[in-house]
């Protein structure tokens, strides 16, 4: 689904990532960890085409990103659900409209979407918050709304960047359960986090591979987890 072959990324200040090789197989569950500033977010952005590698080859769903124009990347992104730490909503639209946004922009909005939307909002526990504006939501509600938005197009891959960064332990466990449930439905999940307790809790429930970015390279984390 997502294949990195010796991928490097550098910016004007210097090299950030180098020699990264990885294959995200369908239905797999991955954690990506590493210290702050190690490049976890950059890695995720490479995985959904928000950034283009400066070296190596990156294939998204079998297509080389180097050969894709911006519109092709946008279309590919509909197959990837992204959950950001800061969630990123359109603050002038109610939560329900924000969650339905991928349907709107992809031209898939339809009169019968209401039932699916309500079902999804109930699943993430936001059925009573449909009309609220994003600034009115708590941290946990925002994360769940972001997750619901990431799922509305039924993507094959879920990429989550510190999804539990702004929520308490109980809420982080709830989010983790949702992500594990999605993985059991066959979705590929990659979660970037520095929360080791979360990783340990997940490994008790699901077979997850833990990757670590250190010194600009990607390593498989050891048995210490």
């Amino acid at each position: 689904m997502i294949e990195l072959d010796n991928v490097a990324y550098s910016y004007s200040g210097g090299a950030l990532l180098a020699g990264m090789s990885l294959q995200l197989a369908p239905g797999s569950f991955h954690f990506l960890t590493g210290p702050s500033g190690a490049g976890k977010t950059t890695f995720l952005k490479l995985c959904y085409g928000a950034l283009r590698p400066t070296g190596g080859a990156l294939r998204l769903f079998g297509s080389d990103i180097a050969a894709m124009d911006r519109d092709a990347v946008a279309l590919m992104r509909r197959r990837v659900g992204v959950v950001h730490q800061d969630c990123q909503f359109l603050d002038h639209l109610p939560v329900a409209d924000n969650i339905a946004l991928p349907l709107t922009v992809s031209g898939q909005a339809s009169p019968d979407q209401g039932a699916n939307l309500r079902e999804l909002m109930t699943w993430v526990g936001l059925s009573d918050r449909a009309g609220a504006l994003p600034p009115e939501l708590s941290g946990g509600e925002r994360q769940r709304a972001a997750l619901a938005r990431a799922l509305i197009l039924s993507p094959e891959v879920i990429l989550a960047d510190e999804p539990t960064g702004n929520v308490d332990w109980e809420m982080s466990q709830r989010l983790l359960r949702l992500l594990i449930e999605l993985n059991r439905m066959g979705k590929t999940v990659l979660i970037a986090t520095h929360d080791m307790a979360l990783i340990r809790a997940a490994k008790a429930q699901v077979s997850a591979r833990v990757l670590r970015i250190a010194g600009g390279t990607l390593q498989t984390a050891g048995a210490e987890l």
């Binding site: 928000a50 519109d71 279309l75 359109l90 002038h92 946004l101 709107t104 922009v105």
Partner: protein, 301 residues
């Protein structure tokens, strides 16, 4: 061009729900509507000016073409004889289709705008005027002048074509100036909409990031802004056009005594021309916003 027009037409049929992704408020709303209204108002006036100048050029050209005047300024006792002599010379001049002396009543009517009615023209040393109509080929003005000098010493030939040409040229230039003004107003509208669109796009950078995150193509994002600015411009231009047409409508009509300024009103089907202003302004806004959006989206990559 046809593809552009098809896309432009699509603005009015596309699902308006998609527009909601861009926040509705902002100073650019008022700026765009006001600018479009002001520009449309000015366009209607420039159009009226241009059409009026065109009419003036045509009228002057038609009225003065192939016409000349001979003025007989002779002592009271000789005027009648010199008039007859002049008419005789004119009847023998090749290129003169007809010539006739104006009557006292006609001369009085010509002087009335300056001296008022009841002018005792008989008691005043007013020169006699002879109206000459030329053939298509015209006459030899210099030859006629020399002959008149010899035979009718009090005659002064006034060839209208001599002073008609610069007047017609001036009116034509004025008409051109009107069209240039319309073009400049269109360009200024485009520039203003571009500035407003750039400001809106910059202010909505976060919105663009979110839309990209959820898989919106550049065309979709640009379309949301383009549709908004196009419709705002159309609305403003329609208001400005109506105001301009009302202003023109309430200007005094050009009567017989009317001058150039009082003849600014549109005539007959020309009243339909201002209706083109809103769609043309919207087309300018569409192109300007589309180019601006593409440029900004490219820079945000």
């Amino acid at each position: 061009m046809s593809a552009l027009l098809i896309r432009f037409g699509g603005l009015f049929t596309r699902d308006a729900a998609a527009d909601r992704v861009v926040p509705p408020e902002g100073f650019t709303v008022r700026l765009t509507v006001f600018t479009a209204a002001a520009m449309a108002f000015l366009t209607v006036f420039a159009l009226a000016l241009s059409l009026a100048a065109g009419r003036l050029a045509t009228t002057w050209g038609q009225e003065l073409a192939l016409a000349s005047t001979l003025r007989i300024s002779a002592p009271a006792g000789q005027q009648e004889a010199q008039t007859e002599a002049a008419l005789r010379v004119l009847s023998q001049t090749p290129g003169v289709a007809s010539a006739r002396a104006l009557t006292d009543e006609e001369q009085k009517a010509l002087l009335e705008p300056w001296f008022g009615p009841g002018l005792p023209i008989e008691s005043l040393p007013v020169p006699r005027l002879i109206e000459i109509v030329e053939t298509e080929d015209g006459f030899d003005g210099e030859g006629l002048r020399l002959r008149l000098q010899a035979e009718v010493p009090g005659a002064v030939l006034d060839e209208h074509t001599r002073w008609r040409r610069p007047l017609v040229a001036a009116a034509s230039r004025l008409r051109l100036l009107g069209w240039v003004s319309i073009a400049l107003i269109g360009a200024a509208t485009g520039a203003m909409v571009t500035l407003a669109a750039n400001a809106a796009l910059a202010a909505n950078r976060k919105v663009i990031e979110v839309l990209r995150l959820v898989g919106a193509t550049d065309g979709y994002i640009a379309g949301a802004f383009v549709r908004r600015f196009t419709l705002r411009t159309f609305t403003g231009a329609a208001a400005g056009m109506l105001a301009g047409m009302l202003a023109i409508l309430f200007m005094p009509g050009g009567g017989e005594a009317g001058g150039f300024l009082t003849g600014l009103r549109f005539q007959s089907w020309h009243w339909l021309l201002p209706l083109l202003v809103p769609p043309l302004a919207a087309l300018v806004a569409y192109a300007a916003t589309r180019i601006a959006a593409r440029r900004v989206l490219e820079s945000l990559t």
